[in-house]
Symmetry: C2
DNA sequence: GTCTATAAAAAGATAGAC
DNA sequence: GTCTATCTTTTTATAGAC
């Protein structure tokens, strides 16, 4: 099978166990591939696996978030569609965010630039929606950051409390909070 | 030396490298103790080291955050003092939060209950201040959660962007945002 | 592209002397 | 309370057959 086949399993594993906790033994079990086969697809080992997952997430971000935001139409609706997609990918707050996992794990330096690029693209796209709705550039950029803060913070809190409701409430309030 | 001597170094290491990245070799180097000495102080190994760090942070939370919040006086001032303390402990957004590291690392299940207790105490203390300032119980609890979201989210974003300003801005806005 | 088998390195943990 | 030395287990990684 081509290596893309295994990327969703890898994403799931890294989210479930963290970067360091996702050992080759667990990866082998989850994918059904022997270790040697994993190195056939990903000669660089776990680091290369994460890079493939990040490529996948870049594409997902583009197709789901950035596209929904850049479509013509009512800004509130566009932001609402983003929140709907986020609810899906984070299972309504029950699943953690891979970028945060990577930022706080032992390989943070290795992946920092990729994660930074994702955050910048995302925040920029939100800010663009707000600018189009008449908000000035600086405020729009800050509100884009506020959105990232609300998403990441509510996911952490949901994990910490063992209760997804902080994320759900944050997503419910986000569109009108950004356009306030 | 008594084991408390080494707790600040341990906290620093776990924040810098994550739970899994803080290996016994690194811990040995940072504390100046051999591995056998570390096991003398912490027979349970790394897990027990983290428990000691959490005990230390419980005490810090009590002496700095909870105390500042529960003191008599203007609610805005009390929240402002909390933010000042947070700025210190997170080095104005340059240092990550250990609780988030533990929640997203491989040992998340081991420490979840301790982290949950910390979050609940903290959020409850913030809510109490808001109740005293005339805000109704439910809103106060939600705003306490909003505070935790803003803190954790802005720390993640600061790490991701490689720029502490989101945290600094969040701390600057937090008191009046909570009392709005 | 996948496997079995094996190697190499790293990490966690302990024994026993001082 | 700390050390040196050693052990065990886990993890990463590779060789070579099919």
């Amino acid at each position: 099978m081509p290596k893309e086949t295994y990327v969703p399993s890898l994403l799931s594993l890294f989210r479930q166990h963290g970067y360091d906790g996702a050992t080759l033994a667990k990866i082998s079990e989850a994918t059904g591939l022997g270790k040697a086969s994993l190195y056939h697809h990903f000669p660089g080992g776990k680091e290369e696996m994460v890079v493939s997952v990040l490529d996948y997430l870049d594409h997902w971000l583009d197709q789901n978030i950035l596209q929904a935001l850049s479509q013509p139409g009512d800004p509130q609706d566009r932001l609402q569609r983003m929140c709907d997609r986020l609810g899906e990918v984070y299972d309504d707050g029950r699943q953690p965010c891979l970028s945060a996992i990577l930022l706080l794990g032992s390989a943070r330096n290795v992946f920092h630039d990729r994660v930074q690029a994702i955050y910048q693209a995302w925040i920029g796209a939100i800010a663009q929606v707000l600018v189009e709705s008449g908000i000035d550039e600086n405020t729009a950029q800050q509100r884009g950051e506020d959105a990232a803060i609300a998403i990441q913070g509510s996911l952490i809190l949901a994990q910490g409390l063992g209760n997804p409701s902080p994320f759900q409430r944050a997503m419910q309030q986000l569109p009108q909070e950004l356009l306030r």
